[in-house]
Symmetry: none
Subunit: 194 residues, 4 copies
DNA sequence: GATGAATGAGACTTCATTCAT
DNA sequence: AATGAATGAAGTCTCATTCAT
């Protein structure tokens, strides 16, 4: 039993993602987390002060891995529209391929946990870190070319459809192939045009 | 004699909406519900089999009041675009003015409770019951004029931004005045154009 | 509803016998009693101080009806042995034909309720009231003819088998026809012989 | 490490026997069990899935200890009658010395818990495992010597009086000395004779 | 450091009893 | 007198957290 795993913390976070995404925070007793992680209950409390801290830590981890994907550079030689579509397709692909990350985030944002950590933080938090097309849109640099809107409106018109579509995909209402994702991205792009 | 008082049921549902929206289902013990409703704990179980049934009943109530707003006829004399914008503004206004209803619905849909009652049910469930512009869009009647898309894509492009914007409004990131709501609606409308 | 039944009390006791015998005291909520009796919950408390008193009252009633059967005179012209067998068959027949009465009594005696009201009270309580053969046995009058034993031993040798056999009958392990009942009675009779 | 302590389980079963025997299943709240066992409420649920399982487990334990007594070999050299009397005296002695075991069993058999685990199971369940005299009687081997009766009648004539006498003893109506127990056993023996 | 047995606060639910109608 | 809606004490069970090993 005395498993001197070099990465017990990783095992715990991984088990947590699985259980939280599939069962919700409240149907994931710490004892079950421990069992799934192959770790003693007590060990969880060595790495995390309590269950809440574990949830917040998991959020940070998932949030970061999404940020990484989102922040990859887009081909800057392409027209802006294509860069935007590429970005959107990349985001949709990643989250559709990682349903647990997506469901965890949705659950987190719609729970008391996410009250302080607003959803905006994930995508709009640091405009300057955004990949080319997004940064230029949100920063207002393209104001002549596109509509000039308050950031939350940009945000809503871009990420709202992403979230909604992913939900339908998870629910099995639609399959996200390349064409579908492009359609959505193009719709969003049009929404921003003058 | 001594008939079950409709006031009491209303008081319970009302307290439930408040606590569920503000604290989440799991931080709203029945004892607190009862206290807030000014009712004995046991009385809740006279009106609802258990806590789950109370949650579902509250969903039905909230869902119906949203449906009512959504289903009001749009001025059919106006151009379709204006009808659409009117509809969107009406929906946004109502939910922004009833934040607890909105937060409850979001929470419900993102919980195991809402698994069968898919979000789609609320808005897309019965296309034929939709107000003019939505029904015509979703039914494909306008396929020549607009893009021809799978329903979930229409759905995502229209209600995704609504949900996202309301979240930002709740978070205090933006104030939803008439202009803002119209901007969003117009963006959505553009997103659907050929 | 205002049912001015002349015999609400009877209806309540009757419903109580049914529910207690079939479900046990603790799976027979007062509300269910009331429903089955066709009476308001509150009415039960007009006739009985509380649930305990209802149980004791029901015991008295059932106990009395058994006493009546037990106390019917045996043909005094017959030999004692035949009188005894007649008595035993009569008792067995009655209780086998009234399983709810029997199950209620068994349950009552084996519960805290029956602690003060000892089983003995039912059959041996008032020796002088017993029908001929029993009275003569218990009173010691037949001491020459039969074994001379302490009353509880007579009691055990006579009523123990009755109770045990009825239990097996209720459980469906045996059918109590005339021959079977006579066999038991004869066995008991032999048990008492010198 | 930290293995589940067998002492704790024993303490719980022991407390359960005491409370169940004295108060009945329904006047023995888990909280009281825990207190009497010197254990936290939650610990009971580590050892038993729920209260029902605890009751059944206690039955198994008590039943086994009675079986052990019952199954001890009788002096096979003695006449059958003496073997039988020895057996009866041993059974009576044990149960009279262990009143809680006796009261628990009686209560168990007369409750919904004992519906499937019929009383017969305890004594007649496995005829072949019975000590000499009983096995030979129940198996019909002595049919020439004794009356030939259906098993439930043997059962009633032998164990009925045992149960009844123990009840009277518990009630303080009689003291079970050697002579008394022998008398009962002899009575039962006679009851079986041709 | 790791473990998991032990704990008890607190959640949900039932039901005997009351009392306004 | 009769009713049944209302009540809350009390019961069963869960689970986050602690701590001895």
């Amino acid at each position: 039993m005395t498993d001197p795993s070099p990465d017990k913390k990783t095992a715990i976070l991984s088990a947590a993602l699985e259980l939280f995404a599939d069962n919700g925070f409240h149907c994931a007793p710490v004892s079950r987390l421990a069992h799934l992680a192959g770790v003693g209950v007590g060990s969880i409390y060595r790495y995390f002060k309590d269950k809440d801290e574990l949830i917040h830590a998991l959020y940070e981890q998932v949030s970061n891995s999404v940020q990484e994907v989102v922040n990859q550079p887009c081909g800057e030689a392409q027209p802006l529209r294509d860069q935007f579509v590429d970005f959107m397709v990349r985001l949709l692909s990643y989250l559709d391929a990682h349903p647990r990350e997506f469901r965890f985030l949705e659950q987190y944002y719609h729970s008391p946990f996410g009250i302080e950590k607003k959803r905006t933080e994930l995508f709009a938090g640091q405009v300057q870190d955004f990949p080319q097309p997004l940064a230029r849109i949100f920063s207002g640099e393209l104001a002549g070319e596109l509509k000039s809107l308050p950031i939350p409106l940009y945000h809503a018109l871009i990420f709202g459809p992403v979230s909604a579509l992913l939900n339908d995909s998870q629910a099995g209402l639609i399959t996200l192939d390349q064409a579908t994702m492009s359609s959505l991205a193009e719709g969003c792009w049009q929404a921003l045009q003058n």
